[in-house]
């Protein structure tokens, strides 16, 4: 038993960190959020050159994987630098495409970074017993006034379609009205295809070159996507994917792929939390009030100590889950990493004061991601239910 990263894994971390620091990700994130994918694509190929996507692609198909521990290590760095794009979805796609000849043909291009992929998360099936008194926060009061749903972009549910209402990562309650994106941020309806109402949302359907849909028949190549929906994290552009399309394989390894997605999301969240902590520590050392750095105040120290403790206890859960690949361990890692990152985000916002609340200050790029990742690929509630149900 040697539960420590080895020298090669530590070197991989350091090289990704150096590369992403040099890439100055904040500018890349801001242009990605505006729908300009050029800088993001350039960064994508450098990540592919570093081997990030090959880690999820089987060796027989031109990859280096599957190597979940290295993937976790890589995704912590991607989160630390808030790299935008369907990163989790691309490594998830790599697993989904690992069976069936037609599917496997697409893998070398994923490993090399020539293609990006997206895929929608599954419908939640882990809903715990909910009593009326604890089912709060349905979000029904958050629909922006004046933006009614645009029914003309939707068709009635298609016959035989397996999508489930409410099975996406941005609408917390299937019965609540779905807030529509402000028009200024929506792409033109041209280029989008009709999708049934309630179709799960996939990240960056407008940017990804492979859009994958899992339905009752198997894994399909979606012919298009619906309108872009704005996430609480502007860099996460969510789209429903059109049904139908070419059937790539009848038996994709869905459980394995979605478990990997959850694990990679957890790793990304941990990285986001670590970055928020680093930036906030630097801020409170610099910022003075009453003639001394605010970092010398015990109230400030203790918030950051708590953030540090939460993040440090989430890290071994992630690595342990990468080793066992047990869905219960992965769910535990997701709750722990996302809640640690979110707690750190709240501390970071508080300790930065008003500047932390502005979109123009770079801290916001991590703050908003910490919020959004909590519900991506399994809400805290779904993940806790998996843990309680056990093995």
């Amino acid at each position: 038993m040697r539960f420590l990263l080895d020298a090669e894994q530590r070197a991989f971390t350091a090289s990704l960190d150096a590369m992403l620091t040099a890439a100055r990700t904040p500018a890349v994130i801001r242009s990605w959020s505006a729908g300009d994918h050029g800088a993001g694509r350039a960064l994508w190929s450098r990540l592919a050159d570093a081997g990030v996507f090959a880690l999820a692609v089987p060796e027989a198909d031109g990859g280096l994987g599957p190597r979940p521990v290295e993937l976790v290590v890589a995704f912590v760095e991607l989160g630390r630098h808030a790299v935008p794009g369907p990163l989790v979805e691309t490594v998830t796609a790599a697993t989904l495409l690992s069976t069936g000849d037609r599917a496997r043909e697409l893998l070398p291009a994923l490993a090399s970074g020539r293609t990006t992929a997206t895929v929608a998360p599954p419908a939640p099936t882990d809903a715990p017993t909910i009593t009326p008194d604890d089912d709060t926060g349905t979000g029904t009061d958050t629909a922006p006034a004046g933006h009614a749903p645009a029914p003309d972009l939707y068709t009635p549910a298609l016959e035989g379609n397996s999508s489930t209402p409410g099975a996406n990562s941005s609408t917390p309650d299937a019965n609540s009205p779905t807030p529509e994106a402000p028009e200024a941020n929506s792409p033109t309806p041209e280029g989008t295809l009709p999708v049934p109402e309630g179709t799960p949302l996939a990240l960056d359907g407008d940017a990804a070159s492979l859009r994958l849909v899992v339905d009752a028949e198997g894994l399909r190549l979606a012919p298009g996507h619906g309108p872009v929906r704005v996430s609480l994290d502007p860099a996460r552009r969510l789209t429903p994917l059109s049904p139908g399309g070419e059937l790539l394989t009848e038996r994709p390894p869905v459980e394995e792929a979605f478990a990997l997605a959850r694990l990679a999301t957890a790793a990304q969240a941990l990285g986001v939390g670590l970055a928020l902590l680093d930036r906030t520590v630097a801020h409170v050392r610099r910022r003075t009030q009453f003639g001394v750095p605010i970092g010398s105040f015990q109230a400030v120290k203790h918030r950051l100590a708590d953030a540090k403790i939460a993040l440090e206890f989430a890290r071994p859960l992630l690595l342990g889950a990468a080793l066992t690949r047990d869905p219960v361990d992965i769910a535990a890692a997701k709750v722990s990493a996302c809640e640690a990152a979110y707690g750190t985000a709240k501390a970071a916002l508080q300790l930065h004061g008003a500047i932390g609340y502005t979109a123009e200050y770079d801290l916001s790029l991590w703050l908003t991601k910490a919020i959004a990742l909590r519900s991506a690929w399994g809400t805290p509630r779904e993940c806790r239910a998996v843990v309680v149900r056990g093995r």
Partner: protein
């Protein structure tokens, strides 16, 4: 990186499990904070020691199995999963013994450790004083040099287990003129039944005498009971304090077992929805603590010193323990008020966690200053 146990670990686990299955008392022992319970727990320590299970990580010549940190963790998992009794010798085993391994003489080790392993001599800690809680460096009780030894004077308080224990260890000011508060302290062991020692038990919140005040009036301690060099007590004690907060005071096995018991209690009570997330978090927290400890043990076995991370560990387990017990009491409904049973006993114990072994405020300061590099300020 791996979590795979070696074949040797697995056979060790099987051996421990079989022994515990055959020996763990069928009915829980009375609380070790009572005279009868203390005696029963001593007898349990002796039974463990008879088959060399009381201190598995110690060298064989002082009663252990030479089995190292990794197997100690395995043993602890089996121990707590088997529902075995709390350990009455813990102060000595987890605080004094590591200090003696690092700083004691061979004579001290061979004289002190075997009876400790057998539960014949149970040790109390005597760190705190009325005016010195977390600020240990300000302590005032003194050790005055005399022929062949030292005379102890002053008062200690919050001395865990001292109401029923045999001996104690602590720091005394041996050089009142030392330039700094941390200097001029000496680490000594003394007999709680020696002439000049008065032990006044103090009831904790539930009234049980879980700790005591010690009044010391010219208590003679021979030179052989000084640990390390006189005046070096602070440095020597700090290595033990790291131990207390860190790896060995609260084994992950204890919380893995406790979280499973909590989940079982929740199911028995009909899976009330209000506690769903807290039960999940207890299960997650136990696994997090387990893996955090595995990682720390791996680092330690690879030659690293365990430093300020023991402060993260202490904050985590103390708050975890309390949250776990709070949830259990709530699940017990009206019975949660009753002071009987393992959950109530554990709850009262858990309440003290954030206070002792260096308050959590002090631990958070250590995390912030030493791990995050924040500037020192007024406490």
């Amino acid at each position: 990186m791996d979590l795979t146990p070696s074949p040797g670990d697995e056979s060790f686990r099987a051996e421990a499990r079989a022994w515990l299955a055959a020996h763990v008392p069928r009915t829980p022992l009375p609380s070790l904070e009572t005279a009868a319970g203390f005696a029963a727990h001593r007898a349990w320590e002796a039974e463990l020691a008879a088959d060399r299970w009381s201190v598995v990580s110690w060298p064989a010549e002082v009663g252990g199995r030479d089995c190292g940190l990794g197997r100690w963790l395995v043993f602890e998992e089996e121990y707590w999963a088997a529902g075995a009794p709390g350990r009455v010798g813990q102060n000595g085993v987890s605080l004094l013994a590591p200090t003696l391994f690092d700083h004691g003489t061979p004579e001290q080790r061979s004289r002190v450790l075997p009876p400790m392993a057998r539960g014949e001599v149970v040790w109390a800690q005597a760190w705190s004083e009325p005016e010195a809680g977390s600020d240990l460096a300000s302590l005032r009780s003194r050790a005055v040099r005399v022929a062949g030894g030292w005379l102890l004077g002053g008062q200690k308080t919050w001395s865990s287990r001292a109401a029923f224990a045999d001996r104690a260890f602590g720091l005394f000011r041996s050089d009142p003129d030392a330039p700094r508060a941390h200097q001029g302290l000496t680490y000594l062991m003394f007999d709680l039944r020696a002439p000049g020692v008065t032990v006044r038990p103090i009831g904790r919140l539930d009234g049980k005498p879980a700790f005591a005040e010690l009044f010391l009036d010219d208590v003679f301690v021979p030179d052989e009971d000084v640990i390390g060099a006189p005046g070096e007590g602070w440095r020597i004690a700090m290595s033990a304090a790291g131990n207390e907060r860190g790896l060995t005071l609260r084994s992950p096995g204890r919380y893995l077992a406790a979280a499973d018991r909590l989940a079982a209690l929740w199911r028995r009570q009909g899976c009330p929805a209000y506690a769903h997330d807290r039960v999940a978090d207890a299960l997650i927290g136990a696994r997090a603590y387990h893996l955090f400890t595995q990682e720390a043990a791996s680092r330690f076995l690879a030659g690293a010193e365990l430093g300020a991370e023991s402060s993260m560990n202490k904050v985590f387990w103390s708050e975890y323990d309390l949250a776990l017990h709070e949830t259990a009491l709530e699940l017990l409904n009206e019975e949660g008020e009753l002071a009987e049973g393992a959950w109530a006993e554990g709850y009262v114990f858990a309440l003290a966690g954030p206070v002792y072994a260096g308050t959590n405020e002090i631990q958070r300061d250590i995390v912030a200053e030493r791990l995050l590099g924040l500037p020192k300020g007024r406490r």
